[in-house]
Symmetry: C2
Subunit: 698 residues, 2 copies
């Protein structure tokens, strides 16, 4: 948890403060002064007694007690400064700008650890090192510019990169986006994105705290903590949009070179965000545009009225919205007539509502009134620029008034960034958001409106199986589980399996030959990739074929036995799972064969997976219509598919040491779902989390 004195210090010392405002120590002092820090302010500077009009101490030991230290001196002096401050000055909050720690080399990493140790001992909190600081309503503790417009209802920004935070703040200015707080975590030595989220979660006050959080992340060290607090914040009514950079292999390399962070594969990040309900973004412009949308009223549906005096942008916006699943419903009947009465000849009210280049403020007001009261419209997007002939103040004033009074969201797209630059500034100063590019706005709007939150799983796996399963697992070493054990595990977890008969010799073969019901399938045991070595024979329909098949398979290199299974009809489907250190398992599903291998048509979710989530995984597959039955073919039992995913999820929750699991294929018919092949790999080093931890966030 963040120490309250990092958030709200009554006194601050800038260690390394100077008169040079082009240095971090000089600039942060200027920022603190310019943005009227209301507590006591001190400087430590060995050569001056007064810095920028602030009392400066030549020796850190001479300082009075101080709540927060902002440190801008060379890395090698930092440990000693922290020692004095924690041990003698009762300092509990630290922001360390200095670079030259773990991001540089081993020696730096050792210094960093030393600082953490001192802070942990003192019960203090420390942001950095190698960051640009933080900003909130109490103080502007950064050495960069610009300081954004602060507003309790503005967004909270947490950034793993200082420069990115600066560029986000800069780009946000032209949108009118305001900030409630900005945190940069640098090397995250003690406080990372997760800890800031924890603080925002615990300190959240309904009706008071900002509801929109923006994250720029390069690594997530503690996915469960991250999940716990993002989920909790969203449950409290917050919206979170985040960039996780390093999603590509090369990007990961770049992220690693940047902050020495541990790389995470992208599917884990993606399912983690989905689980929490985070809107995933990929660039600064997108993040800001999404934030601008989230900062406005919430909408009840997806029916958008597009209102404009300029056709082209309205057509482009219509394209991007309707191509992404939003509706631009026709306006007809009385509503349409009422409108046409008030507009100039040639106006179009069918939606987009085009009130022509000559359209005026009064007409915009009339149009918005009709849309506000129309049950067919959920939100309005107004595109209004200027060819440079006439003033638009009155139009923007109407827009400002309706945005504030309407119960529905009204989005302002103001494209004339040159012609009516000043009028846009006036509009923004009234607390509004303005978007510049209708298509970038439209893409973000579709992303926000299509962002579905499914209810997350709350039940714990049935405990009556857990002892049995634990006993089974604990008896096995790391590596691939023997088929027999894997089948037992699945059956205990409630998954139906076409139990194979193991045959090692002629005698056993002869015995089974008289009891099995043909046709059957033969599979070699021993080689890992059976299909690749010709180790599977389908549709074996009589005793003689059974004998031939057995002998053929036993000749394959590495063959130890042959499995006989009933031939099961149905569609091949697939359930798989994977675990990476620190992350809960990700479950994957899809149709088997080419759908998975060629078309990469796979859905993924992080455990625990509820039945609702499992159903969404299935319907999200591009091949979903095939499962539902097309061209007269029978459907598979989709509910049973979903239930099986949930059972696997429960199993994984109980057995965190499963590193990989493959049920490929399962045979699915209208009534039944039967696994016919399984591979499970145990690896205790990926376990890390106890089952109760996995579920801690629920």
């Amino acid at each position: 948890m963040l120490h309250s004195k990092l958030i709200h210090p009554e006194s601050i010392v800038v260690v390394g403060g100077s008169d040079n405002i082009h240095s971090p120590g000089g600039r942060v002092l200027k920022n603190l002064l310019d943005h009227q820090f209301e507590g006591d302010l001190f400087v430590v500077n060995p050569k001056q007694d007064m810095v920028q009009g602030v009392r400066s101490y030549n020796d850190i030991n001479d300082l009075p007690e101080v709540d927060l230290a902002i440190i801008a001196i060379a890395a090698k002096y930092v440990v000693e400064a922290v020692r004095v401050l924690t041990q003698k000055k009762n300092t509990k909050g630290f922001i360390i700008f200095s670079a030259g720690f773990s991001e540089k080399d081993e020696a730096g990493a050792l210094l960093e650890k030393e600082i953490v140790k001192l802070l942990d001992k003192a019960g203090g909190s420390f942001l950095g090192p190698n960051n640009i600081g933080m900003i909130n309503k109490h103080y502007a503790g950064v050495f960069t510019t610009p300081i954004p417009k602060l507003d309790e209802k503005g967004v909270d920004l947490i950034s793993g990169s200082g420069a990115t935070a600066v560029f986000i703040i800069e780009a946000a200015q032209s949108f009118g986006l305001t900030f409630s707080s900005v945190y940069t975590v640098g090397n995250s030595a003690q406080i990372g994105v997760e800890e800031i989220l924890e603080y925002l979660d615990h300190s959240f006050e309904k009706g008071v705290s900002s509801k929109v959080k923006l994250l720029y992340i390069e690594s997530i060290k503690d996915p469960l903590k991250f999940l716990r607090h993002t989920t909790s914040l969203i449950a409290k009514g917050c919206k979170i949009a985040a960039i996780k950079a390093g999603s590509s292999e090369e990007g990961n390399r770049a992220a690693s070179s940047h902050t020495g962070a541990i790389a995470n594969s992208d599917v884990f990040v993606d399912t983690l965000f989905k689980k929490a309900g985070i809107i995933r973004c990929f660039g600064r412009n997108e993040l800001i545009t999404v934030a601008g949308i989230l900062q406005q009223k919430e909408t009840a549906g997806k029916n958008i009225a597009i209102i404009t005096h300029a056709g082209g942008p309205a057509v482009m916006l219509t394209d991007v919205l309707s191509n992404n699943g939003l509706k631009i419903p026709h306006i007809e009947g009385k509503e349409s007539e009422a409108l046409l009465d008030q507009l100039f000849d040639g106006s179009s009210v069918s939606n987009p509502i085009d009130f022509l280049a000559t359209g005026n403020a009064g007409q915009l007001k009339a149009i918005l009134e009709v849309c506000e009261s129309s049950p067919r419209i959920d939100a309005m997007a107004v595109i209004f620029g200027s060819p440079g002939l006439t003033a638009v103040d009155d139009v923007y004033q109407v827009l400002n008034e309706r945005i504030k009074s309407s119960e529905k969201p009204i989005y302002a797209v103001l494209p004339s960034v040159v012609n009516v630059k000043d009028e846009i500034q006036v509009f923004l100063k009234k607390g509004n958001i303005a978007f510049q590019d209708e298509v970038l706005f439209g893409q973000a709007l579709a992303k926000v409106y299509n962002h579905a939150s499914v209810s997350i799983k709350t039940e714990n796996p049935d405990p009556k199986f857990s002892t049995e399963i634990r006993k089974l697992i604990d008896a096995l070493p790391d590596g691939y589980m023997p088929t027999e054990a894997a089948v037992t595990l699945l059956e205990t977890a409630g998954v139906k399996f076409a139990v194979p008969l193991q045959v090692k010799n002629e005698a056993k073969l002869n015995y089974f030959a008289n009891t099995v019901i043909f046709p059957v399938v033969l599979k070699v045991e021993g080689p890992l990739h059976k299909s690749d070595v010709g180790g599977v024979i389908l549709n074996v329909s009589n005793k003689s074929e059974l004998h031939d098949g057995f002998h053929k398979l036993m000749q394959i290199e590495g063959a130890t036995s042959v499995m006989i299974q009933p031939m099961i009809k149905g569609k091949e489907i697939f359930i798989g799972a994977k675990k990476e250190t620190n992350y809960p398992h990700v479950i994957l599903c899809g149709l088997g064969g080419i759908f998975v291998e060629v078309l990469k048509d796979i859905s993924a979710s992080m455990i625990p997976v509820s039945e609702e989530e499992a159903l969404k995984m299935i319907t999200d597959l591009k091949a979903a219509p095939i499962l539902k039955g097309i061209r007269g073919q029978a459907s598979i039992n989709i509910k049973l598919f979903a239930e099986t995913i949930v059972k696997i999820s429960d199993l994984l929750t109980l057995v965190p040491e499963i590193a990989e699991l493959d049920l490929n294929p399962l045979m699915a018919s209208e009534k039944d779902l039967t696994a016919v092949d399984v591979r499970i790999r145990l690896e205790r080093s990926v376990k890390k989390l106890q089952p109760n931890e996995t579920n801690e966030f629920v």
Copy 2:
């Protein structure tokens, strides 16, 4: 062809010019004066003798001869003004701002036609009505602001929407994009986008004319003319990027309400652009970003070095580039050592090259020099902003110098739009382009670099078949072709068909029963959708099944006969074609069945399709690996698939009255490709184009 006096008039009259610069007539006069039109300038204004210092005539009849008229008076007076100017004043160029013509109502459409008639008779050219005018180096004939920075090497912009042109010019300013000319076509009464392209094509001078053309289009009235001139411009070395708005159904509605344009389905636009080699964009920001990239040096490959002092944006750019097929190659060995020598400790040179927040101009120069001479790097993207501490002029100066001297393209991403606003302006004034958002830049870069131009087809279909095919077609009415005729048509075109035997009665059935080679397929003739009525029986393997099947099928409502076909093994593939008025045919291909119906995995090209294009269509399919053979399955003969597509293309070129064609399925094996079902619909009203016209652009 555009009249030279519209492009380069020696005298201009503004009909409706006034002192009110908030009116179109007043503002265009001010623009002409401000941007120093060098010829004679007149005004027609019934009430004044002098307007903005320009000689004004009260009566249009009193004017001297004048090359170009810009008309800004009410619609009802326009026809008379045009009559006087064309008939008495030898005026050949017209720009008509006035609205109230075909976009408004029938009466307006009649007025518009009248004007076109007068202009055609006089051999003049007329832009509009209902537009904002045009700008080139000779005059600023628009009533809007801002007038962009003009430059012979800037982009040419043609816009179907005046407001969109204004907003593009405004947004382009912050990128530093300059313009060579801007044309807005309004209602396109006489001159549309196609005619401007024709002019740019014919007047193109290598080494002199601008090489980048941008289009904003809401409708394409004459696709072949469009194709001819875009193809020709691109062959001359130009790059064209275009937005075709109205790509969604709703967008089409919006486009229609806007300019009364005829809607085109999106696949026709898409294949038309692909055929011409146009880079398709979907929004203003994207169009400008693409233009900014096209305005720089061309690159030899896809290996990008990302150079930055700020990690975050470099990671995001790496992600977007490598997720879109570009390479960020490692820099190793000598190159890497040479660099590390010159950079500060902690810098990373593996690519992204991160030379830290403290990185300076000299270091940037060293990095760029290494990249310029490295055979592993084709282009460099430099991301350099400022946290607000230090000046960046020297860095941007180095960037400016290397951009100009390097043989490889260097892209500047300058994200600090607030902190170093002035330095960015200085950088732009030197003729550079600056991108603001690294991810929007990266998306556009990937789009440009991945834009493939395949060689377009040049041969004409073999003429020896044309007489035969023509005779066959001319003998048939509109509607679905009888199967027999369709099969003959395909065979004449060189497509192999599993020729069906038609059986209408028991006698014929008995005769065939003794000659066919089992197994066979039975298909009912009569009903259009055979499968839906149970009209197909597969795998009929003996005489008795043949009899049963025949009788069963003949009982289906509408059955007229039964076709017997050999059972052909192989993968089902599909070739289809469609024609819309004015457009050449579009050919579609894919794997049959679910791949087309459920997964919508289809490739499309506009005819004529070359073998290279056909191969690209096939490899572009998501299911392509299945055709090439996976998991030990045999591949199909892909070359034969491509050749068959070309044969169908040739056939369609010869028979423009084919409105729809379906070869579904064709059975493809390793050696063979055989059509087993065909449906062709003739519709003479879609013909419109003669075969030689279809090929006119080649």
